[in-house]
């Protein structure tokens, strides 16, 4: 079984070798006064279309056309190569016209969102694993609702049993909002558990005012607070792992539209 390091090394070397070959061909073509921008443009178009097919492959899992893992590796390294070919194609020139700016911006955004997604899909999963039990994303709202109900039931039962409103007041003031609260969109990137730690500290501070029975109940609430922490981590992390694709894929289609317009314009004027 090939290790990830070996695979990364081999594919990086292959990509670098292909890029080196392209630079050599580009330099020779310039010396020979060949239309290198046209050549690199067609190559870039082929690479873009090839990269787009990865999404199509994911929609057809029953076709034995290499594994999705192989496709992803090709997608990643062909993506890096496309960035390099883009630089060759533009010659490092800053775009000036309106169509050029839109095209370059779309390409930059697609490349940046892809690189961000790659980093995220390697960085976030181990953090989700260490956070606690793995949860199915679609079940998390139901689990959150269950936590809210469970906390309310515990507090109501405690009030009835102990004839004290200390835990009930704390629930209204702190816990109800905490359990109903949804994590921010970019919470996994910001890191930290400030809200969770604040609630735990307040619950800890409350213990000195509680009877022995109420402390036992506060421990149950502390378990729920801990469960909510994992729930928030899993929810925010999985949401971000899904959301970046909502930027990458629509931007890719925008890039394809701009590219089609660019190719059409080039072909129109190049034949005059």
């Amino acid at each position: 079984m090939t290790s990830f390091f070996t695979r990364r090394l081999v594919l990086s070397l292959v990509t670098a070798a292909v890029a080196g070959g392209l630079v050599a061909a580009w330099l020779l073509g310039r010396v020979a006064l060949r239309p290198v921008a046209m050549y690199t443009g067609w190559l870039l178009l082929v690479l873009l279309l090839g990269l787009t097919f990865f999404n199509a492959r994911k929609k057809l899992p029953f076709i034995p056309l290499f594994s999705a893992s192989t496709w992803l590796q090709v997608h990643i390294y062909a993506g890096w190569l496309a960035c390099f070919v883009f630089l060759l194609h533009t010659g490092g020139r800053v775009p000036s016209g309106a169509v050029e700016i839109m095209l370059a911006a779309a390409f930059g955004l697609v490349a940046a969102s892809g690189a961000f997604g790659l980093w995220l899909s390697r960085w976030l999963p181990p953090r989700l694993t260490r956070s606690g039990e793995s949860l199915v994303y679609e079940r998390i709202p139901m689990l959150r609702h269950r936590l809210v109900t469970e906390a309310e039931d515990i507090v109501r039962a405690a009030e009835a049993e102990t004839q004290s409103t200390t835990l009930g007041d704390f629930h209204v003031r702190v816990l109800a909002g905490y359990f109903a609260h949804q994590p921010a969109w970019l919470a996994p990137l910001a890191g930290g558990d400030a809200e969770h730690h604040r609630v735990k500290l307040e619950l800890e501070a409350l213990r000195r005012f509680l009877s022995v029975r109420e402390i036992q109940i506060a421990d149950q609430l502390a378990d729920l607070v801990e469960a909510k922490r994992n729930l928030d981590h899993q929810f925010a992390g999985q949401r971000l792992l899904k959301l970046w694709l909502f930027a990458h894929i629509p931007l890719t289609f925008a890039l394809l539209v701009f590219t089609a317009a660019h190719v059409w314009l080039i072909l129109q004027y190049s034949h005059r």
Partner: protein, 158 residues
Amino acid sequence: MLIDLDRCTRCDDCVRACAATHDNNPRFIRQGPEASGVMVASACMHCVDPVCMIGCPTGAIYRESADGQVGINPDTCIGCSVCAQSCPYGTIQMVALHDEEGLPIVTEETGAPVRRATKCDLCIDQPGGPACVSACPHDALLRADMRQMDTLTAWLHR
């Protein structure tokens, strides 16, 4: 079925691939016991001595002679759910059958939906092997014999 949680992005492409391969009925869920960053997902274990196969009244559950996978013949399954109740891992699901228009097929006598037992068959009829493994873009999934320690160790230390 083992899932490397440090690689898994929770995209559920594996479950979707399973559903696409099996009439929109996924035959496992991405949940199960976890230890050291590895999840043993809730999918058929293809037991050496399957309780489901022994208890099936119509013999619809069979073992492939070549590789030993345990499968269910949908033509002879009567939907009695004895297998689902006896599976020690709870990996057999009873699913309602639908016609070509997506409407549930019901019995004429009672109007109750016709159900069949389904479970992971390791994609016996798929040329590319288990669809879930092929569909995982992050190499996070492994179908392996738990007794083959060399395979497991090599996979865990990639």
